[in-house]
């Protein structure tokens, strides 16, 4: 049998889910588990959740086991500014001055220019590269990012710098190179992406080493219980990415930045795995202890950030679902300001009814639900105390808290839709979002979802659905995710060259005049497959597609001198459908 364990490390809880995949490729939930998240030690929370789940496997016939891990490790590291000191080497050419690009970290500009068609208009100045690296090492740099303007059109300068680092600065090897992380244009975002990647690479490597050791140990324990030899179980570990795809853990060592914002992605994947696709515009609300994450599905597909994720104030090129997080959750603060109840945005701590001491929205739920969970008396006491300021009975106060919570959620949703409709910033499957989007349905998950979602939907005047396994549906989403990978093909028949930056490929076309759209598509699809295999994103059922395509005739002096093809080919994003019991 094939099993998948999904683990989502959230702000408050770490959820885990064990899926078994049937012959038809559908998933069935065997067990859900949760453990409190320890921010100072994500590793232990992860291991604890894993241990609870793996008990269930002992009775099963386990041939094939996958673990899909969504952690906040890299996101937190970036937000908190953790990681290694980085030397960031850039080449630019005509345009914005590097000082105007607003980098939050020092960059070293070296000579060398590539233009928009990938032609070298000024050679790389190796001596400047060498002295920039020397200076950076002297100042304590332990990692290096190398990014050239227009490097996806011609990675030559970046590759030459990589060679130099390998030979003369082996301590900084391997560097993060711009063209390998993204084939898309946007130099400042590429620089940010590579800087972050280089900065957190060691953290990711250490985390992965520990996970690997633990898993080998768990696996040994598992085989001891089942009486099987460990080798018979094929174990693969994947990390979840911001675009809802997975990447094989060992390959993620060089691309840690892609694992940012996997939490919101896990919620969206949970919604996709556990519901039938809908043509309407759906809001996915993941109401957690600390925050509520809001995402949007249009025509059954998640909205994506047009250029890439924004994390810790850094604009990146990391493909990501569109998602906004607000400080509103079951453990948020409750305050009374100018005659109104306000929830959040900070976390108050554990609810009084659950053993803490602060008043939280969860206490209000415990009171209204008459103690179906939590300590009714403690909830009553904390609400009574608070109602001395606000007036009214504890029961009325609880209602006011519910109302404030739902109104704040609705205000956030309305704000998001106002933004979506005014700026051409977001795409659905690379097609611009149509104007006039409005919420037509809500899908809810997260601990307090069952309580709040019907009320929020009522305020918005739309139908709703609370996901099965809603408390840990993000872990189901992590388990149900499949790998994603994409390449960019750029063929310039006038220059006679094909470039696939993600694969370090620059090839001369043998017969440029005969290179046509069909050949370009074929090459793009083959390359996407090759790339998926290289980065551990290949799986037998994977389908490949060209999902962006531009073809231009190049005319110079009234003659057609060639064609320009730009294509993005990818593993078609997919999800394992999970059938609720």
């Amino acid at each position: 049998m094939r099993y998948i364990i999904g683990i989502d490390v959230g702000g408050t809880n770490t959820n885990a889910c064990l899926l078994v995949i049937d012959q038809g490729g559908q998933g069935h939930v065997l067990k859900m588990a949760k453990a409190p998240t320890r921010h100072e030690d994500l590793f232990t929370s992860t291991r604890q959740a894993l241990a609870e789940i793996s008990d269930e496997i002992s009775s099963a016939d386990c041939r094939d086991l996958e673990i899909h891990l969504s952690t906040t490790l890299i996101t937190n590291a970036i937000v908190e500014g953790k990681g290694d000191p980085v030397a960031t080497i850039i080449t630019t050419g005509p345009g914005l001055a590097p000082e105007a690009m607003g980098f939050a970290f020092p960059v070293s500009l070296v000579g060398g220019v590539i233009d928009h068609r990938g032609r070298e208009t000024a050679p790389l100045v190796m001596d400047e590269v060498r002295s920039a690296l020397k200076a950076a090492v002297d100042q304590g740099a332990r990692a290096v990012a190398v990014v050239g303007k227009f490097s996806p059109r011609n990675p030559g300068h970046e590759l030459a710098i990589e060679d130099l680092i390998q030979q003369e600065f082996p301590g900084l090897y391997p560097p993060t190179l711009g063209h390998r992380l993204s084939g898309r244009l946007n130099f400042p975002r590429r620089v940010n992406t590579c800087y972050l990647n280089a900065k957190v690479a060691r953290l990711q490597r250490e985390f992965i080493d520990r996970i690997r050791d633990t898993l080998l140990w768990e696996l040994a324990a598992l085989s001891a219980r089942t009486g099987q030899e460990a080798q018979k179980t094929r174990l693969r570990v994947f990390l979840l990415k911001a675009d809802g795809g997975t990447i094989e853990m060992e390959k993620a060592v060089n691309r840690p930045v892609e694992t940012i914002l996997s939490g919101p992605a896990a919620s969206v994947m949970g919604a996709l795995a556990l519901t039938e696709p809908s043509e309407s515009c759906v809001v996915v609300l993941d109401i957690g202890g600390t925050t509520t994450d809001i995402a949007v599905l249009v025509g059954g597909k998640p909205l994506a950030e047009k250029d890439g994720a924004v994390v810790g104030g850094f604009k990146t090129l990391v493909p990501a679902f569109f998602s906004r997080s607000i400080g509103l959750g079951g453990d948020s603060t409750v305050s009374y300001q100018e005659g109104r109840i306000k929830i959040g945005p900070t976390r108050a701590g554990t609810a009084a009814a659950l053993g803490g001491d602060a008043l939280t929205p969860t206490d209000a739920i415990v009171l209204t639900e008459q103690g179906s969970f939590g300590d009714y008396q403690r909830a009553l006491t904390v609400l009574e105390n608070f109602s001395r300021n606000t007036g009214g009975s504890p029961r009325e106060l609880a209602e006011e808290i519910h109302q404030a919570f739902c109104e704040q959620a609705v205000a956030a949703i309305n704000g998001i839709f106002a933004d979506l409709n005014s700026c051409p910033v977001y795409t659905v499957s690379e097609v611009l979002v149509p104007r006039g989007l409005k919420p037509e349905k809500i899908i809810g998950l997260g601990g307090p979802a069952a309580f709040y979602i019907p009320r929020i939907a009522h305020l918005l005047g739309v139908p709703y659905e609370v996901l099965p396994y809603y408390e840990g549906a993000n872990a189901v989403g992590a388990a149900a995710s499949r790998p994603t990978a994409a390449i960019t093909l750029r063929a310039d028949t006038a220059l006679g060259k094909v470039t696939i930056p993600e694969l370090d490929q620059v090839t001369d076309l043998a017969r440029p005049a005969l290179f046509d759209r069909r050949k370009a598509e074929q090459l793009a699809l083959e390359s996407a497959r090759g790339y998926a295999e290289k980065i551990g994103a290949y799986y037998p059922e994977a389908q490949f597609e060209v999902d962006e395509e531009e073809v231009f005739n190049m005319v110079r002096g009234f003659y057609t001198v060639g064609k320009l093809f730009t294509m993005k080919a990818q593993v078609k994003p997919d999800v394992i459908k999970v059938v609720p019991k």
Binding site: A100, P188, V555, T560
Partner: protein, 447 residues
């Protein structure tokens, strides 16, 4: 939620490269024209700058067009969806500025418009409808008909379409800097084209000798354009930003650099910038547009240099600056005395000023013969009747009459214009008769 929105962004950008529209596959005005510019803007990350906000272009409506143009025989017969989006994109940019969503806006789009005149039989100079004129009429309709607007057109070709539309319009100051018409399409834009009897001195043309560069362009800007603007006190300044003055442009003979364009915009500080021509699509446009955007943002543009190292830049011919200085001196004289000049000496004493013109549509190969009659009126700028005959090669000639009522038309002119429209019959040689009443937004047609 979004703190960047709390202050008004410096620059709104409306980008519409019309990647699926071309006049013909190998025409300079083809799909590829803004491709490299798009690549450069995206790679520079300009849209991520905190001072920049991107807007989606709206689609221009029928009335947006009819306020400016008479499309003959009909709107769908002469234009495409791409034209409507380019014009609509200019309106979007104008709205963003007028409603203070942004301080300035740049409509970086194609197809261009400044050769399109009030009457449109087809395309001329790659233009079918006049994007700038359409946005100006939109502004006057929606934000106040008394708004004073200045257009500074810096395309290498004379902005004869915009000049035609605003020739007799006292609300619009139209200044065009261009390569001397004796050496370049469309051939007009001489020093003595100064506006009609209702707006004399509000059309200014500065023909620049071929080979003029940054020095000549900036001299005119500092010594003519800025002082004239200072006195006119416009509510809005629009730059018709043609980029074919660039030294590498294949269609013209000018020597302006990306730095020159940036300097021009820094001096001019236009509220709205609308792209016009510019056909050095790889070597100039990507850099000129980045330079303009940085100048409008008030950012450092000193690093925006052409990657060819200005290899093909030629110094201006001897005497170019001297000639330009004389032109500037002449026009400043006209400008200073524009209110004292005896208009009867220029336009005659007849109750109607009448001019006859032949207009050639190079793009569509149409020859038009036009008679334009402007009522001499001292209460308003005067209503007009325009008779036009046009013929495409050996096709049947089409003959029309247009009665045009300008903004702030006086009661007498209105009565006379309305009866003129009644009187004109689509027979006896006229295929169609049109009435264009911008103020009441009444657009009639009979055939």
């Amino acid at each position: 939620m979004d703190t960047e929105r709390c202050t008004i962004p410096q620059l709104g950008l409306v980008f519409f490269p019309a990647f699926d529209w071309a006049i013909s596959p190998d025409h300079p005005e083809r799909e590829e024209r803004l491709l490299y510019t798009r690549d450069q803007l995206v790679e520079e990350g300009l849209l991520d700058l905190p001072g920049v906000m991107e807007f989606r272009p709206k689609v221009a409506t029928e009335n947006d067009l009819k306020r400016t143009h008479i499309c003959i025989p009909s709107i769908p017969a002469v234009l495409t969806k791409a034209h409507l989006i380019a014009a609509g994109g200019c309106i979007t940019a104008a709205k963003a500025v007028m409603e203070q969503k942004v301080k300035k806006a740049f409509a970086l789009l194609r197809p261009p418009g400044h050769h399109a005149m009030r009457l449109v039989h087809g395309a001329r100079g790659f233009c079918t409808i006049n994007n700038e004129a359409i946005l100006i009429e939109y502004i006057r309709k929606h934000y106040g008909s008394h708004l004073k607007i200045a257009v500074v057109d810096t395309d290498a070709h004379h902005a004869d379409g915009s000049q035609d539309i605003f020739y007799n319009d006292p609300g619009v100051l139209h200044i065009s800097l261009h390569q001397d018409g004796r050496t370049l399409y469309p051939g007009t834009g001489n020093l003595d084209e100064l506006g009609g009897p209702g707006a004399y001195g509000l059309t200014l043309n500065i023909p620049l000798p071929p080979g003029s560069g940054d020095r000549e362009l900036l001299f005119v800007t500092k010594n003519l354009v800025l002082p004239v603007l200072e006195e006119f006190q416009p509510d809005l300044v629009i730059n018709g930003a043609g980029q074919d003055n660039h030294y590498s442009d294949p269609l013209t003979h000018m020597q302006v650099t990306a730095q020159g364009y940036a300097e021009l915009n820094k001096l001019l500080q236009p509220d709205l910038v609308v792209l016009e021509g510019g056909y050095a699509i790889e070597g100039a446009l990507p850099y000129v547009n980045v330079a303009i955007i940085l100048a409008l943002l008030g950012m450092d543009y000193s690093r925006v240099l052409e990657p060819d190292g200005q290899r093909d830049l030629v110094p201006p011919p001897p005497g170019a600056l001297e000639l330009v200085k004389k032109e500037v001196a002449y026009l400043r004289g006209v400008w200073a005395k524009r209110r004292e000049i005896d208009l009867d000496k220029i336009f005659g004493t007849a109750p109607y000023y009448r001019r006859e013109r032949r207009i050639y549509y190079d793009t569509d190969d149409i020859l038009e013969h036009q008679v334009d009659q402007i009522k001499r009126c001292n209460k308003c700028s005067g209503y007009r009747v325009i008779y036009s005959r046009a013929q495409k090669r050996v096709a049947r000639e089409i003959s029309v009459a247009v009665v045009h009522l300008p903004w702030h038309v006086c009661a007498d002119c209105r009565a006379e214009a309305e009866s003129a429209y009644e009187r004109l019959h689509p027979d006896g040689g006229l295929d169609r008769v049109y009435l264009q009443d911008v103020e009441k937004e009444v657009f009639l047609e009979k055939q």
